[in-house]
Symmetry: C2
Subunit: 307 residues, 2 copies
Protein backbone atom coordinates (compact mmCIF):
# COMPACT_ATOMS: atom_id res chain seq x y z
CA UNK A 1 0.00 0.00 0.00
CA UNK A 2 1.71 3.23 -1.15
CA UNK A 3 2.11 5.76 1.62
CA UNK A 4 2.99 8.97 -0.20
CA UNK A 5 3.21 10.71 -3.55
CA UNK A 6 5.57 13.32 -4.87
CA UNK A 7 4.10 16.60 -6.07
CA UNK A 8 6.05 18.91 -8.37
CA UNK A 9 5.19 22.53 -9.10
CA UNK A 10 7.16 23.59 -12.13
CA UNK A 11 6.79 27.36 -12.25
CA UNK A 12 8.46 29.88 -14.48
CA UNK A 13 10.74 30.89 -11.59
CA UNK A 14 10.83 28.10 -9.05
CA UNK A 15 10.79 24.36 -9.18
CA UNK A 16 9.26 22.90 -6.04
CA UNK A 17 9.20 19.23 -5.21
CA UNK A 18 7.53 17.72 -2.16
CA UNK A 19 6.64 14.40 -0.60
CA UNK A 20 3.00 14.42 0.57
CA UNK A 21 1.33 11.56 2.41
CA UNK A 22 -2.18 10.22 1.91
CA UNK A 23 -3.55 12.40 4.72
CA UNK A 24 -2.31 15.53 3.00
CA UNK A 25 0.66 16.09 5.29
CA UNK A 26 3.62 17.66 3.58
CA UNK A 27 6.55 15.51 4.70
CA UNK A 28 9.34 17.44 2.99
CA UNK A 29 9.57 20.20 0.42
CA UNK A 30 12.52 21.17 -1.76
CA UNK A 31 12.59 24.52 -3.58
CA UNK A 32 14.98 24.98 -6.47
CA UNK A 33 15.50 27.75 -8.96
CA UNK A 34 13.89 26.50 -12.15
CA UNK A 35 16.74 28.00 -14.20
CA UNK A 36 14.77 27.90 -17.40
CA UNK A 37 17.62 29.82 -18.96
CA UNK A 38 19.73 26.68 -18.53
CA UNK A 39 17.25 24.88 -20.72
CA UNK A 40 14.72 22.13 -20.51
CA UNK A 41 17.15 19.27 -20.00
CA UNK A 42 18.80 20.96 -17.01
CA UNK A 43 15.40 21.54 -15.38
CA UNK A 44 14.38 17.92 -15.93
CA UNK A 45 17.70 16.78 -14.56
CA UNK A 46 17.23 18.84 -11.39
CA UNK A 47 13.65 17.70 -11.00
CA UNK A 48 14.63 14.05 -11.34
CA UNK A 49 17.41 14.44 -8.81
CA UNK A 50 15.07 16.05 -6.29
CA UNK A 51 12.43 13.38 -6.83
CA UNK A 52 14.97 10.58 -6.57
CA UNK A 53 16.38 12.04 -3.38
CA UNK A 54 12.90 12.25 -1.77
CA UNK A 55 12.18 8.76 -3.06
CA UNK A 56 15.34 7.44 -1.42
CA UNK A 57 14.45 9.13 1.86
CA UNK A 58 10.83 7.97 2.12
CA UNK A 59 11.17 4.64 0.37
CA UNK A 60 10.62 3.73 -3.24
CA UNK A 61 8.18 0.95 -2.31
CA UNK A 62 5.85 3.41 -0.57
CA UNK A 63 5.75 5.86 -3.49
CA UNK A 64 2.46 5.81 -5.43
CA UNK A 65 3.63 8.12 -8.19
CA UNK A 66 4.66 11.61 -9.21
CA UNK A 67 2.30 14.44 -10.11
CA UNK A 68 3.64 17.46 -11.98
CA UNK A 69 1.87 20.78 -12.36
CA UNK A 70 3.11 22.74 -15.37
CA UNK A 71 2.15 26.13 -16.77
CA UNK A 72 0.73 25.40 -20.20
CA UNK A 73 -1.71 23.38 -22.20
CA UNK A 74 -1.32 19.66 -21.71
CA UNK A 75 -2.21 16.81 -23.99
CA UNK A 76 -3.24 14.35 -21.31
CA UNK A 77 -3.47 11.39 -23.65
CA UNK A 78 0.06 11.87 -24.98
CA UNK A 79 1.65 13.15 -21.76
CA UNK A 80 3.17 16.18 -23.45
CA UNK A 81 2.91 19.96 -23.21
CA UNK A 82 1.17 21.26 -26.29
CA UNK A 83 1.92 24.90 -25.59
CA UNK A 84 3.74 26.69 -22.80
CA UNK A 85 4.76 30.33 -23.21
CA UNK A 86 6.68 30.18 -19.91
CA UNK A 87 8.58 26.99 -20.69
CA UNK A 88 10.28 27.51 -24.04
CA UNK A 89 11.50 24.29 -25.62
CA UNK A 90 9.05 22.03 -23.80
CA UNK A 91 6.30 21.93 -26.40
CA UNK A 92 5.90 18.47 -27.91
CA UNK A 93 8.58 17.05 -25.58
CA UNK A 94 7.46 13.70 -24.08
CA UNK A 95 7.57 14.88 -20.45
CA UNK A 96 5.62 12.02 -18.94
CA UNK A 97 7.40 9.23 -20.84
CA UNK A 98 10.85 10.70 -20.25
CA UNK A 99 10.45 11.15 -16.49
CA UNK A 100 8.81 7.74 -16.14
CA UNK A 101 11.74 6.22 -18.00
CA UNK A 102 14.30 7.95 -15.79
CA UNK A 103 12.60 7.32 -12.46
CA UNK A 104 10.63 4.14 -12.99
CA UNK A 105 7.49 5.62 -11.40
CA UNK A 106 4.13 6.63 -12.88
CA UNK A 107 3.92 10.33 -13.76
CA UNK A 108 0.73 12.41 -13.94
CA UNK A 109 0.82 15.77 -15.70
CA UNK A 110 -1.62 18.57 -15.06
CA UNK A 111 -1.88 22.24 -15.84
CA UNK A 112 -0.65 24.29 -12.84
CA UNK A 113 -3.94 26.14 -12.25
CA UNK A 114 -5.79 22.82 -12.34
CA UNK A 115 -3.29 21.28 -9.92
CA UNK A 116 -3.81 24.20 -7.51
CA UNK A 117 -7.57 23.74 -7.78
CA UNK A 118 -7.25 20.03 -6.98
CA UNK A 119 -5.15 20.96 -3.95
CA UNK A 120 -7.81 23.37 -2.68
CA UNK A 121 -10.45 20.73 -3.29
CA UNK A 122 -8.52 18.08 -1.42
CA UNK A 123 -7.35 20.06 1.59
CA UNK A 124 -8.34 23.70 1.27
CA UNK A 125 -11.24 26.05 0.63
CA UNK A 126 -13.16 23.58 -1.54
CA UNK A 127 -12.69 20.55 0.69
CA UNK A 128 -15.74 18.32 0.48
CA UNK A 129 -17.31 20.32 -2.37
CA UNK A 130 -17.62 18.34 -5.60
CA UNK A 131 -18.41 21.22 -7.98
CA UNK A 132 -16.45 24.43 -7.94
CA UNK A 133 -14.60 27.02 -9.98
CA UNK A 134 -11.30 28.50 -8.87
CA UNK A 135 -9.79 31.77 -10.07
CA UNK A 136 -6.06 32.17 -9.50
CA UNK A 137 -5.00 35.82 -9.47
CA UNK A 138 -1.30 36.02 -10.17
CA UNK A 139 0.77 37.85 -12.80
CA UNK A 140 -2.00 36.68 -15.10
CA UNK A 141 -5.26 35.01 -14.12
CA UNK A 142 -5.68 31.27 -14.36
CA UNK A 143 -8.67 29.22 -13.51
CA UNK A 144 -10.08 25.76 -13.16
CA UNK A 145 -13.45 24.08 -13.13
CA UNK A 146 -14.12 20.99 -11.02
CA UNK A 147 -17.26 18.95 -11.65
CA UNK A 148 -17.97 15.86 -9.59
CA UNK A 149 -14.56 16.13 -7.96
CA UNK A 150 -12.69 16.03 -11.26
CA UNK A 151 -11.04 18.71 -13.36
CA UNK A 152 -13.14 19.69 -16.35
CA UNK A 153 -10.51 19.89 -19.08
CA UNK A 154 -12.76 20.72 -22.01
CA UNK A 155 -12.23 19.63 -25.58
CA UNK A 156 -8.57 20.60 -25.92
CA UNK A 157 -7.50 20.89 -22.28
CA UNK A 158 -8.00 24.66 -22.15
CA UNK A 159 -11.07 25.05 -19.95
CA UNK A 160 -10.92 27.52 -17.08
CA UNK A 161 -9.59 30.58 -18.89
CA UNK A 162 -11.64 32.90 -16.71
CA UNK A 163 -8.93 35.54 -16.92
CA UNK A 164 -9.96 36.24 -20.48
CA UNK A 165 -13.64 36.73 -19.83
CA UNK A 166 -14.64 40.05 -21.42
CA UNK A 167 -15.73 42.45 -18.68
CA UNK A 168 -15.68 45.62 -20.72
CA UNK A 169 -15.84 45.24 -24.50
CA UNK A 170 -13.98 48.56 -24.96
CA UNK A 171 -11.53 48.08 -22.10
CA UNK A 172 -7.71 47.90 -22.14
CA UNK A 173 -6.02 45.63 -24.67
CA UNK A 174 -5.03 42.29 -23.16
CA UNK A 175 -2.04 40.24 -24.26
CA UNK A 176 -4.49 37.58 -25.50
CA UNK A 177 -5.64 40.07 -28.16
CA UNK A 178 -9.03 40.81 -26.61
CA UNK A 179 -10.06 44.02 -24.84
CA UNK A 180 -11.31 44.40 -21.30
CA UNK A 181 -10.47 40.91 -20.04
CA UNK A 182 -10.79 40.18 -16.31
CA UNK A 183 -6.99 39.85 -16.29
CA UNK A 184 -6.79 43.58 -17.10
CA UNK A 185 -8.62 44.42 -13.84
CA UNK A 186 -7.77 41.78 -11.27
CA UNK A 187 -4.28 40.37 -11.87
CA UNK A 188 -1.15 41.58 -10.07
CA UNK A 189 -0.13 43.21 -13.36
CA UNK A 190 -3.46 45.04 -13.51
CA UNK A 191 -3.10 46.24 -9.90
CA UNK A 192 0.18 47.90 -10.84
CA UNK A 193 -1.24 49.40 -14.05
CA UNK A 194 -4.32 50.76 -12.30
CA UNK A 195 -2.12 52.21 -9.54
CA UNK A 196 -0.03 54.00 -12.14
CA UNK A 197 -3.23 55.26 -13.80
CA UNK A 198 -4.22 57.01 -10.57
CA UNK A 199 -0.80 58.52 -10.04
CA UNK A 200 0.64 56.00 -7.59
CA UNK A 201 3.87 55.76 -9.54
CA UNK A 202 6.15 55.87 -6.54
CA UNK A 203 5.76 53.09 -4.02
CA UNK A 204 3.34 51.33 -6.29
CA UNK A 205 5.53 49.44 -8.67
CA UNK A 206 4.56 46.01 -7.39
CA UNK A 207 1.12 44.75 -6.43
CA UNK A 208 2.42 44.19 -2.90
CA UNK A 209 3.47 47.84 -2.62
CA UNK A 210 0.02 48.97 -3.75
CA UNK A 211 -1.45 46.59 -1.17
CA UNK A 212 0.72 48.04 1.58
CA UNK A 213 -0.21 51.59 0.59
CA UNK A 214 -3.87 50.60 0.76
CA UNK A 215 -3.41 49.03 4.18
CA UNK A 216 -1.72 52.26 5.32
CA UNK A 217 -4.88 54.15 4.38
CA UNK A 218 -3.99 55.54 0.95
CA UNK A 219 -7.32 56.27 -0.76
CA UNK A 220 -6.06 55.88 -4.30
CA UNK A 221 -4.55 52.49 -3.47
CA UNK A 222 -7.79 51.40 -1.83
CA UNK A 223 -9.61 52.54 -4.97
CA UNK A 224 -7.47 50.16 -7.00
CA UNK A 225 -8.60 47.19 -4.89
CA UNK A 226 -12.17 48.42 -5.07
CA UNK A 227 -11.86 48.12 -8.86
CA UNK A 228 -10.36 44.64 -8.48
CA UNK A 229 -13.38 43.63 -6.40
CA UNK A 230 -15.90 45.09 -8.86
CA UNK A 231 -14.29 43.23 -11.74
CA UNK A 232 -14.21 39.97 -9.81
CA UNK A 233 -17.83 40.47 -8.80
CA UNK A 234 -18.91 40.69 -12.44
CA UNK A 235 -16.85 37.63 -13.39
CA UNK A 236 -18.13 35.56 -10.47
CA UNK A 237 -21.72 36.66 -11.22
CA UNK A 238 -21.33 35.43 -14.80
CA UNK A 239 -19.94 32.10 -13.61
CA UNK A 240 -22.70 31.56 -11.07
CA UNK A 241 -25.42 32.56 -13.55
CA UNK A 242 -24.03 30.09 -16.08
CA UNK A 243 -23.21 27.15 -13.82
CA UNK A 244 -25.11 27.65 -10.54
CA UNK A 245 -22.06 26.41 -8.63
CA UNK A 246 -22.20 26.02 -4.86
CA UNK A 247 -18.71 27.50 -4.46
CA UNK A 248 -16.26 29.82 -6.19
CA UNK A 249 -12.75 30.07 -4.77
CA UNK A 250 -10.39 33.01 -5.33
CA UNK A 251 -6.71 32.25 -4.94
CA UNK A 252 -3.30 33.40 -6.14
CA UNK A 253 -1.08 36.18 -4.79
CA UNK A 254 -3.64 38.97 -5.25
CA UNK A 255 -6.12 37.06 -3.08
CA UNK A 256 -4.01 38.10 -0.08
CA UNK A 257 -5.78 41.44 -0.50
CA UNK A 258 -9.15 39.67 -0.04
CA UNK A 259 -10.24 41.95 2.82
CA UNK A 260 -9.65 45.00 0.65
CA UNK A 261 -11.53 43.81 -2.45
CA UNK A 262 -14.16 41.39 -1.09
CA UNK A 263 -16.75 44.05 -0.10
CA UNK A 264 -16.89 45.39 -3.67
CA UNK A 265 -16.92 41.82 -5.03
CA UNK A 266 -20.00 40.88 -3.00
CA UNK A 267 -21.77 44.20 -3.68
CA UNK A 268 -21.40 43.59 -7.40
CA UNK A 269 -22.26 39.90 -7.21
CA UNK A 270 -25.51 40.49 -5.34
CA UNK A 271 -27.05 42.84 -7.85
CA UNK A 272 -25.62 41.24 -10.96
CA UNK A 273 -26.41 37.57 -10.36
CA UNK A 274 -30.05 36.52 -10.14
CA UNK A 275 -28.92 32.94 -9.59
CA UNK A 276 -26.77 33.99 -6.62
CA UNK A 277 -29.72 35.84 -5.11
CA UNK A 278 -32.20 33.05 -5.82
CA UNK A 279 -29.94 30.47 -4.18
CA UNK A 280 -29.95 32.61 -1.06
CA UNK A 281 -27.01 31.98 1.20
CA UNK A 282 -26.31 28.61 -0.43
CA UNK A 283 -23.62 29.90 -2.82
CA UNK A 284 -20.26 30.54 -1.23
CA UNK A 285 -17.48 32.71 -2.63
CA UNK A 286 -14.35 32.42 -0.60
CA UNK A 287 -10.59 32.87 -0.45
CA UNK A 288 -8.26 29.97 -1.20
CA UNK A 289 -6.54 28.53 1.86
CA UNK A 290 -3.37 26.80 0.76
CA UNK A 291 -1.47 29.73 -0.74
CA UNK A 292 1.46 28.86 -2.97
CA UNK A 293 1.46 25.21 -1.89
CA UNK A 294 -1.94 24.39 -3.42
CA UNK A 295 -0.31 23.23 -6.67
CA UNK A 296 2.08 20.86 -4.90
CA UNK A 297 -0.71 19.25 -2.91
CA UNK A 298 -2.90 18.92 -5.99
CA UNK A 299 -0.07 17.45 -8.05
CA UNK A 300 0.66 14.90 -5.34
CA UNK A 301 -3.04 14.05 -5.11
CA UNK A 302 -3.09 13.24 -8.82
CA UNK A 303 -0.59 10.47 -8.20
CA UNK A 304 -2.45 8.90 -5.30
CA UNK A 305 -4.83 5.96 -5.56
CA UNK A 306 -8.46 7.20 -5.66
CA UNK A 307 -11.04 5.64 -3.39
Amino acid sequence: MPKYAIGVDLGGTNLRVAAVDGHGSLREKVTLSARNSAGRDAVIQEMCQAVASLGARFGKADLSGIGIGVPGVIDLAKGILRESPNLPGWAEYPVKAEIERRLGATVFLENDANAAALGEQWLGAAKGVADTAILTLGTGIGGAVIFGGKIWHGMTGMAGEFGHMTLNPEGPVCKCGNRGCLEEYASATAVVRMARDVGLARGGSTAREVYELALAGNDAANGVFHRVGKALGIAVANLINALNLPLVVVGGGVSEAWDLFAPALFDELRWRSMVYRAAGGATRVTKALLGGDAGIYGAARLAMPKN
Copy 2:
Protein backbone atom coordinates in the same frame (compact mmCIF):
# COMPACT_ATOMS: atom_id res chain seq x y z
CA MET B 1 -40.77 -2.84 -24.62
CA PRO B 2 -42.25 0.69 -24.66
CA LYS B 3 -42.46 2.13 -28.15
CA TYR B 4 -43.11 5.82 -27.59
CA ALA B 5 -43.16 8.62 -25.05
CA ILE B 6 -45.31 11.70 -24.74
CA GLY B 7 -43.59 15.07 -24.70
CA VAL B 8 -45.32 18.17 -23.37
CA ASP B 9 -44.17 21.75 -23.93
CA LEU B 10 -46.02 23.93 -21.49
CA GLY B 11 -45.38 27.47 -22.66
CA GLY B 12 -46.83 30.72 -21.47
CA THR B 13 -49.08 30.84 -24.57
CA ASN B 14 -49.38 27.35 -25.99
CA LEU B 15 -49.62 23.89 -24.58
CA ARG B 16 -48.24 21.33 -27.00
CA VAL B 17 -48.45 17.61 -26.50
CA ALA B 18 -46.95 15.02 -28.84
CA ALA B 19 -46.32 11.31 -29.15
CA VAL B 20 -42.70 10.67 -30.18
CA ASP B 21 -41.27 7.23 -30.91
CA GLY B 22 -37.86 5.90 -29.91
CA HIS B 23 -36.35 6.86 -33.27
CA GLY B 24 -37.36 10.49 -32.76
CA SER B 25 -40.29 10.43 -35.16
CA LEU B 26 -43.13 12.70 -34.13
CA ARG B 27 -46.21 10.53 -34.48
CA GLU B 28 -48.81 13.12 -33.61
CA LYS B 29 -48.81 16.61 -32.15
CA VAL B 30 -51.66 18.49 -30.48
CA THR B 31 -51.45 22.26 -29.94
CA LEU B 32 -53.77 23.85 -27.41
CA SER B 33 -54.07 27.33 -26.05
CA ALA B 34 -52.53 27.15 -22.59
CA ARG B 35 -55.23 29.47 -21.25
CA ASN B 36 -53.26 30.34 -18.16
CA SER B 37 -55.95 32.88 -17.42
CA ALA B 38 -58.30 29.96 -16.80
CA GLY B 39 -55.95 28.82 -14.07
CA ARG B 40 -53.63 25.99 -13.27
CA ASP B 41 -56.28 23.33 -12.81
CA ALA B 42 -57.81 24.00 -16.23
CA VAL B 43 -54.39 23.73 -17.89
CA ILE B 44 -53.63 20.47 -16.10
CA GLN B 45 -57.06 19.17 -17.06
CA GLU B 46 -56.46 19.98 -20.74
CA MET B 47 -52.97 18.50 -20.63
CA CYS B 48 -54.21 15.28 -19.07
CA GLN B 49 -56.99 14.97 -21.64
CA ALA B 50 -54.56 15.44 -24.54
CA VAL B 51 -52.10 12.94 -23.04
CA ALA B 52 -54.86 10.41 -22.37
CA SER B 53 -56.18 10.78 -25.89
CA LEU B 54 -52.71 10.17 -27.41
CA GLY B 55 -52.23 7.29 -24.98
CA ALA B 56 -55.50 5.72 -26.14
CA ARG B 57 -54.52 6.09 -29.77
CA PHE B 58 -50.99 4.69 -29.55
CA GLY B 59 -51.57 2.19 -26.79
CA LYS B 60 -51.05 2.51 -23.07
CA ALA B 61 -48.85 -0.60 -22.95
CA ASP B 62 -46.35 0.95 -25.37
CA LEU B 63 -46.05 4.27 -23.47
CA SER B 64 -42.76 4.64 -21.58
CA GLY B 65 -43.73 7.84 -19.79
CA ILE B 66 -44.50 11.53 -20.06
CA GLY B 67 -41.92 14.32 -20.12
CA ILE B 68 -43.00 17.89 -19.43
CA GLY B 69 -40.98 21.00 -20.20
CA VAL B 70 -42.05 23.95 -18.07
CA PRO B 71 -40.81 27.55 -17.90
CA GLY B 72 -39.43 27.92 -14.41
CA VAL B 73 -37.13 26.55 -11.79
CA ILE B 74 -37.80 22.93 -11.00
CA ASP B 75 -37.11 20.98 -7.87
CA LEU B 76 -36.28 17.68 -9.52
CA ALA B 77 -36.25 15.72 -6.29
CA LYS B 78 -39.73 16.88 -5.26
CA GLY B 79 -41.25 17.07 -8.75
CA ILE B 80 -42.53 20.59 -8.24
CA LEU B 81 -41.99 24.03 -9.76
CA ARG B 82 -40.15 26.18 -7.27
CA GLU B 83 -40.62 29.41 -9.21
CA SER B 84 -42.30 30.25 -12.47
CA PRO B 85 -43.07 33.88 -13.35
CA ASN B 86 -45.01 32.75 -16.44
CA LEU B 87 -47.14 30.16 -14.64
CA PRO B 88 -48.77 31.93 -11.71
CA GLY B 89 -50.21 29.53 -9.15
CA TRP B 90 -47.94 26.63 -10.05
CA ALA B 91 -45.19 27.22 -7.51
CA GLU B 92 -45.04 24.49 -4.88
CA TYR B 93 -47.85 22.56 -6.65
CA PRO B 94 -47.00 18.81 -6.87
CA VAL B 95 -47.04 18.67 -10.70
CA LYS B 96 -45.32 15.32 -11.07
CA ALA B 97 -47.30 13.50 -8.36
CA GLU B 98 -50.64 14.93 -9.48
CA ILE B 99 -50.22 14.02 -13.16
CA GLU B 100 -48.85 10.59 -12.29
CA ARG B 101 -51.89 10.01 -10.08
CA ARG B 102 -54.31 11.06 -12.81
CA LEU B 103 -52.70 9.21 -15.70
CA GLY B 104 -50.97 6.27 -14.07
CA ALA B 105 -47.73 6.86 -16.00
CA THR B 106 -44.31 8.09 -14.90
CA VAL B 107 -43.80 11.84 -15.32
CA PHE B 108 -40.45 13.63 -15.81
CA LEU B 109 -40.29 17.38 -15.31
CA GLU B 110 -37.65 19.60 -16.83
CA ASN B 111 -37.10 23.29 -17.37
CA ASP B 112 -38.21 24.24 -20.90
CA ALA B 113 -34.81 25.54 -22.04
CA ASN B 114 -33.21 22.33 -20.78
CA ALA B 115 -35.83 20.24 -22.58
CA ALA B 116 -35.12 22.10 -25.83
CA ALA B 117 -31.40 21.49 -25.35
CA LEU B 118 -32.00 17.77 -24.85
CA GLY B 119 -34.06 17.74 -28.04
CA GLU B 120 -31.24 19.38 -30.02
CA GLN B 121 -28.79 16.93 -28.50
CA TRP B 122 -30.93 13.93 -29.37
CA LEU B 123 -31.97 14.84 -32.90
CA GLY B 124 -30.74 18.28 -33.86
CA ALA B 125 -27.66 20.50 -34.00
CA ALA B 126 -25.92 18.80 -31.08
CA LYS B 127 -26.63 15.22 -32.14
CA GLY B 128 -23.75 12.99 -31.12
CA VAL B 129 -22.01 15.74 -29.11
CA ALA B 130 -21.80 14.98 -25.40
CA ASP B 131 -20.78 18.44 -24.15
CA THR B 132 -22.50 21.57 -25.31
CA ALA B 133 -24.14 24.83 -24.31
CA ILE B 134 -27.33 26.07 -25.91
CA LEU B 135 -28.59 29.64 -25.93
CA THR B 136 -32.28 30.09 -26.66
CA LEU B 137 -33.06 33.58 -27.96
CA GLY B 138 -36.74 34.28 -27.42
CA THR B 139 -38.63 37.03 -25.60
CA GLY B 140 -35.93 36.54 -23.01
CA ILE B 141 -32.80 34.40 -23.30
CA GLY B 142 -32.68 30.94 -21.80
CA GLY B 143 -29.83 28.52 -21.84
CA ALA B 144 -28.70 25.07 -20.96
CA VAL B 145 -25.45 23.23 -20.36
CA ILE B 146 -25.04 19.58 -21.27
CA PHE B 147 -22.04 17.67 -19.93
CA GLY B 148 -21.58 14.02 -20.80
CA GLY B 149 -24.99 13.93 -22.47
CA LYS B 150 -26.80 15.12 -19.35
CA ILE B 151 -28.25 18.45 -18.33
CA TRP B 152 -26.04 20.27 -15.83
CA HIS B 153 -28.61 21.58 -13.36
CA GLY B 154 -26.28 23.21 -10.88
CA MET B 155 -26.83 23.44 -7.16
CA THR B 156 -30.42 24.72 -7.22
CA GLY B 157 -31.51 23.83 -10.76
CA MET B 158 -30.74 27.28 -12.16
CA ALA B 159 -27.68 26.66 -14.31
CA GLY B 160 -27.69 28.01 -17.87
CA GLU B 161 -28.76 31.59 -17.22
CA PHE B 162 -26.56 32.86 -20.06
CA GLY B 163 -29.08 35.59 -20.82
CA HIS B 164 -27.96 37.39 -17.69
CA MET B 165 -24.25 37.36 -18.41
CA THR B 166 -23.00 40.95 -18.07
CA LEU B 167 -21.76 42.17 -21.44
CA ASN B 168 -21.57 45.84 -20.61
CA PRO B 169 -21.38 46.81 -16.93
CA GLU B 170 -22.99 50.20 -17.68
CA GLY B 171 -25.52 48.94 -20.22
CA PRO B 172 -29.33 49.07 -20.18
CA VAL B 173 -31.15 47.93 -17.05
CA CYS B 174 -32.40 44.33 -17.33
CA LYS B 175 -35.52 43.03 -15.63
CA CYS B 176 -33.27 40.78 -13.52
CA GLY B 177 -31.90 43.94 -11.87
CA ASN B 178 -28.47 43.86 -13.53
CA ARG B 179 -27.23 46.19 -16.26
CA GLY B 180 -26.00 45.24 -19.73
CA CYS B 181 -27.12 41.59 -19.71
CA LEU B 182 -26.89 39.60 -22.94
CA GLU B 183 -30.70 39.57 -22.90
CA GLU B 184 -30.63 43.34 -23.43
CA TYR B 185 -28.79 42.86 -26.74
CA ALA B 186 -29.86 39.57 -28.28
CA SER B 187 -33.44 38.71 -27.28
CA ALA B 188 -36.49 39.45 -29.42
CA THR B 189 -37.34 42.17 -26.91
CA ALA B 190 -33.90 43.71 -27.35
CA VAL B 191 -34.20 43.62 -31.14
CA VAL B 192 -37.35 45.74 -30.90
CA ARG B 193 -35.79 48.14 -28.37
CA MET B 194 -32.63 48.59 -30.45
CA ALA B 195 -34.75 49.14 -33.57
CA ARG B 196 -36.66 51.87 -31.76
CA ASP B 197 -33.35 53.39 -30.59
CA VAL B 198 -32.27 53.85 -34.22
CA GLY B 199 -35.59 55.35 -35.30
CA LEU B 200 -37.26 52.26 -36.76
CA ALA B 201 -40.47 52.97 -34.88
CA ARG B 202 -42.75 52.17 -37.76
CA GLY B 203 -42.60 48.67 -39.18
CA GLY B 204 -40.28 47.60 -36.39
CA SER B 205 -42.57 46.82 -33.52
CA THR B 206 -41.88 43.08 -33.53
CA ALA B 207 -38.56 41.32 -33.96
CA ARG B 208 -39.94 39.66 -37.08
CA GLU B 209 -40.72 43.06 -38.63
CA VAL B 210 -37.19 44.27 -37.90
CA TYR B 211 -35.92 41.05 -39.49
CA GLU B 212 -38.01 41.62 -42.60
CA LEU B 213 -36.83 45.22 -42.89
CA ALA B 214 -33.25 43.97 -42.66
CA LEU B 215 -33.85 41.35 -45.34
CA ALA B 216 -35.33 44.10 -47.53
CA GLY B 217 -32.04 45.97 -47.26
CA ASN B 218 -32.78 48.50 -44.52
CA ASP B 219 -29.38 49.55 -43.12
CA ALA B 220 -30.63 50.48 -39.68
CA ALA B 221 -32.40 47.14 -39.31
CA ASN B 222 -29.25 45.33 -40.44
CA GLY B 223 -27.33 47.34 -37.87
CA VAL B 224 -29.60 45.96 -35.16
CA PHE B 225 -28.71 42.37 -36.11
CA HIS B 226 -25.06 43.32 -36.29
CA ARG B 227 -25.35 44.39 -32.65
CA VAL B 228 -27.09 41.10 -31.83
CA GLY B 229 -24.17 39.22 -33.40
CA LYS B 230 -21.53 41.25 -31.56
CA ALA B 231 -23.25 40.63 -28.24
CA LEU B 232 -23.58 36.91 -28.93
CA GLY B 233 -19.94 36.77 -30.01
CA ILE B 234 -18.81 38.15 -26.65
CA ALA B 235 -21.07 35.76 -24.74
CA VAL B 236 -19.99 32.72 -26.73
CA ALA B 237 -16.32 33.76 -26.37
CA ASN B 238 -16.75 33.87 -22.59
CA LEU B 239 -18.39 30.44 -22.57
CA ILE B 240 -15.72 28.87 -24.74
CA ASN B 241 -12.90 30.46 -22.73
CA ALA B 242 -14.44 29.12 -19.52
CA LEU B 243 -15.49 25.65 -20.63
CA ASN B 244 -13.61 24.85 -23.85
CA LEU B 245 -16.75 23.26 -25.26
CA PRO B 246 -16.69 21.58 -28.68
CA LEU B 247 -20.06 23.08 -29.61
CA VAL B 248 -22.31 26.02 -28.81
CA VAL B 249 -25.82 26.02 -30.29
CA VAL B 250 -27.94 29.14 -30.80
CA GLY B 251 -31.69 28.55 -30.97
CA GLY B 252 -34.99 30.28 -30.28
CA GLY B 253 -37.00 32.57 -32.53
CA VAL B 254 -34.25 35.17 -33.01
CA SER B 255 -31.94 32.46 -34.36
CA GLU B 256 -34.00 32.54 -37.57
CA ALA B 257 -31.98 35.70 -38.29
CA TRP B 258 -28.76 33.63 -38.09
CA ASP B 259 -27.54 34.69 -41.52
CA LEU B 260 -27.88 38.34 -40.53
CA PHE B 261 -26.06 38.16 -37.20
CA ALA B 262 -23.63 35.23 -37.62
CA PRO B 263 -20.86 37.20 -39.42
CA ALA B 264 -20.59 39.68 -36.52
CA LEU B 265 -20.79 36.81 -34.03
CA PHE B 266 -17.82 34.99 -35.56
CA ASP B 267 -15.81 38.21 -36.04
CA GLU B 268 -16.19 38.95 -32.34
CA LEU B 269 -15.59 35.36 -31.24
CA ARG B 270 -12.33 35.04 -33.16
CA TRP B 271 -10.59 37.99 -31.59
CA ARG B 272 -12.10 37.67 -28.13
CA SER B 273 -11.58 33.97 -27.43
CA MET B 274 -8.03 32.65 -27.24
CA VAL B 275 -9.43 29.19 -26.54
CA TYR B 276 -11.55 29.31 -29.71
CA ARG B 277 -8.49 30.30 -31.73
CA ALA B 278 -6.20 27.75 -30.08
CA ALA B 279 -8.67 24.94 -30.76
CA GLY B 280 -8.55 25.88 -34.43
CA GLY B 281 -11.55 24.70 -36.36
CA ALA B 282 -12.46 22.17 -33.69
CA THR B 283 -15.01 24.41 -31.90
CA ARG B 284 -18.34 24.71 -33.67
CA VAL B 285 -20.92 27.42 -33.13
CA THR B 286 -24.10 26.68 -35.00
CA LYS B 287 -27.80 27.31 -35.33
CA ALA B 288 -30.34 25.02 -33.67
CA LEU B 289 -32.18 22.73 -36.08
CA LEU B 290 -35.46 21.72 -34.49
CA GLY B 291 -37.12 25.11 -34.15
CA GLY B 292 -40.08 25.30 -31.79
CA ASP B 293 -40.35 21.51 -31.54
CA ALA B 294 -37.01 21.03 -29.76
CA GLY B 295 -38.68 21.17 -26.36
CA ILE B 296 -41.26 18.50 -27.24
CA TYR B 297 -38.61 16.12 -28.50
CA GLY B 298 -36.43 16.72 -25.46
CA ALA B 299 -39.34 16.26 -23.07
CA ALA B 300 -40.28 12.98 -24.75
CA ARG B 301 -36.66 11.84 -24.62
CA LEU B 302 -36.63 12.35 -20.85
CA ALA B 303 -39.34 9.72 -20.53
CA MET B 304 -37.63 7.11 -22.68
CA PRO B 305 -35.47 4.28 -21.35
CA LYS B 306 -31.79 5.21 -21.59
CA ASN B 307 -29.36 2.80 -23.15
